[in-house]
Subunit: 208 residues, 2 copies
DNA sequence: TTGTCAATTGTCAGCGGCTGTCACTAGCCT
DNA sequence: AGGCTAGTGACAGCCGCTGACAATTGACAA
């Protein structure tokens, strides 16, 4: 049983987040003022900053949730899988559950629009890449633990995750530049690109 | 023969860059004000912004130069090398020439200090990662051209570069966290980590 | 050398992100 | 009902950054 106060706070935060993403994706990130967001909700600018550390944090609120799920999914993979199998399966499984997880917070369609905006807004892309780096670090730790290794002594977990992450970046980018902005599209790209890692790294591309 | 005006401009820009990097690396990036930099050189804040598009651009001025050289080095690699050989050789060759290239602008030691600051300052790391993404895109185009492929049709150039770039990121990170901040140290790390890509991606780490 | 023109700079005003402060309001709890 | 405190709004102010305009300084020709 939650108190009225808490429910009110929850609603304010949700309203701010929704208004922010809606304005960002329609008007553009830079062209949206915190005052715009606050006004849309009927709250002072100062209040926005009591719920979000900054403009950026609002933009990534949903993305944070998704990445959290991904880390958990990797951790939950059966020990029998090799590190790369675990990553790959956690990823595809993630796409399948994404709708349900996200829909509690905002419409999935809004999330996907925001995702594309991140990709096309330099300052947001920069923030995204840094956050991804943090996530990759956490995943490297998970993999190391699965394999009983010390992340700081053995570079292989980080290297594997970094290579994997690099491929994911290319996937995101291609997806955001394409025409099909569905979950199915990004899932298809993911598997296709992961299948290309071997060929891309070994040898001579002209041979094929 | 360059005009006095041009020489003056050149000196102002150089002074601003030096003052900025010096202040950034001693006082910290966020704790350094543009006014601090401008005052240190004896010009107005407005003038700083006439030489640099923003605080960030000053922080990355030298790094830009280094990455430019790297792209050129990849382009100059003999056609016989496989894509990954070309990347690797361009990289190690880059470390060798770095001192000479950088020293024209600022002391190498200052550049290395700045490089570490970038790693440890979130907002700078974010900017660095985004710039790296741009550079990787350009390199993917170079590789595709070398192999006679269409970057937008064949994902392998981008995937290979992304994986390679991921490993470089891990290298940079480890170097900046270590104790030996010499060029020799980062060169050694680079080759060691690149040798680990194969083992890290194939199979089972416990077997070794 | 001097006067004219153009490039460079300083000053000022202002916007937007963000923070500290403080008084006020509204929910909580006895 | 009344005291307590979490949450809010209003205000002031810092910093990054930009536009506008006037003042200055070098370039170049007469």
């Amino acid at each position: 049983m939650e108190t009225l106060r808490e429910r009110k706070k929850q609603r304010t935060r949700e309203a701010l987040l929704r208004a922010a993403l809606e304005l960002f994706t329609t008007r553009g990130y830079e062209r949206t003022t915190i005052d715009d967001v606050a006004d849309a909700v009927g709250v002072s600018q100062r209040t926005f900053f009591r719920y979000f550390a900054g403009k950026e944090e609002a933009a990534f609120a949903v993305q944070d949730l998704v990445e959290e799920r991904f880390v958990a999914a990797v951790r939950a993979r059966p020990a029998g899988e090799t590190p790369l199998e675990a990553l790959r399966h956690a990823l595809t499984e993630g796409w399948d559950r994404l709708s349900e997880d996200v829909e509690d917070v905002v419409p999935v369609e809004l999330y996907l629009r925001m995702y594309r905006l991140i990709e096309s807004t330099p300052v947001l892309l920069a923030a995204h890449l840094r956050r991804s780096a943090d996530t990759e670090d956490r995943i490297a730790r998970v993999l190391a633990e699965r394999e009983g290794l010390d992340v700081d002594a053995d570079p292989r977990p980080r290297i594997a995750v970094a290579a994997f992450g690099g491929v994911m970046r290319v996937t995101e980018r291609q997806w955001s530049l394409g025409e099909d902005f569905s979950l199915a599209a990004i899932r298809a790209l993911t598997t296709a690109y992961l299948d290309q890692v071997g060929p891309a790294l070994t040898g001579n591309w002209r041979a094929l």
